[in-house]
Symmetry: C2
Amino acid sequence: MRLSLDALLVLDAIERKGSFAAAAEELHRVPSAITYTVQKLEQDLGILIFDRSGHRARLTEVGTHLLKDGRYLLDAAAQLEDRVRQQATGWEPELRLAVSDLVPFSALLPLLAEFGQLTCATRLRLQREVLGGTWDALHDGRADLAIGASDQPPPGRYQRQPLGTVPFVFAVAPEHPLARHTEPIPLYVIRKYRAVAVGDTSRQLPARSLSILEGQDVLTVSTLAEKLQVQLAGLGTGYLPLSLAQPYIDNEKLVVKQVEDGKDPIALFYAWKEPQPGKALDWFIRRLKQAADAATLTY
Amino acid sequence: MRLSLDALLVLDAIERKGSFAAAAEELHRVPSAITYTVQKLEQDLGILIFDRSGHRARLTEVGTHLLKDGRYLLDAAAQLEDRVRQQATGWEPELRLAVSDLVPFSALLPLLAEFGQLTCATRLRLQREVLGGTWDALHDGRADLAIGASDQPPPGRYQRQPLGTVPFVFAVAPEHPLARHTEPIPLYVIRKYRAVAVGDTSRQLPARSLSILEGQDVLTVSTLAEKLQVQLAGLGTGYLPLSLAQPYIDNEKLVVKQVEDGKDPIALFYAWKEPQPGKALDWFIRRLKQAADAATLTY
DNA sequence: ATCTCATGTTCGAAAATCCTGAAGAAACAT
DNA sequence: ATGTTTCTTCAGGATTTTCGAACATGAGAT
């Protein structure tokens, strides 16, 4: 390893301040020490970093590139330091959130924004999951916190708290035959038309499916967004979260129909596995409880 | 900057070799030097990296994370060293290729594979462009080499070499009215139907457009793939590269029609600006010439 | 239990590295 | 020219790092 972070730090200061002398001052060193460091790095790498032909030193082409990429290194190193130091005080280096696609991204944004305000170096990793996928992600350790998990936890020790409910509407495209049917539409009629289901992202746990009537022609897609697209195109019917469907209902691209034995709002939960949460997980748990109590997250 | 690459190197060796002693041997140092480095790093970061309660030292949780992320740093540092050292010997740190979407990706793959075989640390950056976009990318320095540039160079000093030709076919969906028209179809008939054009990605240079008949209803999309989709859907007509259309012609999803004053194959070029190419650019120039001479790149 | 072996630590001395401060050369501005 | 700023050189010294030997400590073998 010929490179050293310290030397890169020196290069960075020189470039920012515009001269060896100014960099020396910033780094509380003497100019000759800067010269020494630069020359050593040049020798170690076998390259010329500065062009000394003129009065003041100018970065060579190689030097420019070295500094440009070197700054990424410095930045990454500083971030790593932060995470490591914070981990020692109880903040996780990384927190992985498995978010059900029933939770609109817009409802998540304020939380992420608030978390970003904290002076903590914990990295967030979001992954969207479908239905049971959130439990599954928790189950085999791909996630630390499930947001929008369903009512049916898999076997195992999990902590679980209610998050809110998601109302659903049965919606079809205006061209769809069911659009003109008298309400409430009986189940045996619905069964005649193709339904659209969202496939479960569960890998290990047994896959679920949302209220698909037996014997019905089913088109399975992998995300709610796709399901919406399919229903908009009139290629199938099914329930959609009201929040997702609303703009299209207003738009008259979708028609809401009352159905015999309509679907109740689905209760969503947040859940985690770790019995002794780190500070980041703890923050999210508290913040979600607060949001749930304030019913902020009922869509 | 409390972190040092050297210390990370030591941690890495310890973990790989399984003990301080073995790491010392690998690094040609004495065990006490290893102890010293580790202790210093622990002190600097204010954390415990190893758990010394047992006989042999084991990484703590923090230590594990530090090492895991630290290895990315080491790797990045090593790569940067490589690039910098190679740049000094004439290899560019990065070469940016602007590739016209008329060039099928499959024709590009062998080149990229061969380049990957070279022992050079030059990073490749590919960007797909539409039509004049390749010239444009060259023009304002977003690319170093244009592959599949058109016949009409913008003003300026560029080097240009022929690459091959792309045959076009006039194709429509089977449902399209023109699909049953007697051939050759006269221009005034074609003009009655909506054409699909690919918008130019040119930003600064004047935008071009491919043979759009004046006064015709035109739907402009931004990529060839989109144009293909539109034509497949029967929403418009136009010329497509034979290589792109062929699978759908075989499939009977597209019908080729002879047209009055049919479009000649388009000549493609590769072009660059730099009068003194670095080694990577030089390699591509030679390799493309070889491919063009062997007519490998005629589609 | 005791012995043996390997591991990691401690410590003073030696070596290498790095910084300092003064002096000097070279380019630019006035 | 003259002065100023900038970087370099160099010798000395401070600091950091390494060395090698002595020392603890746990694991496994006898």
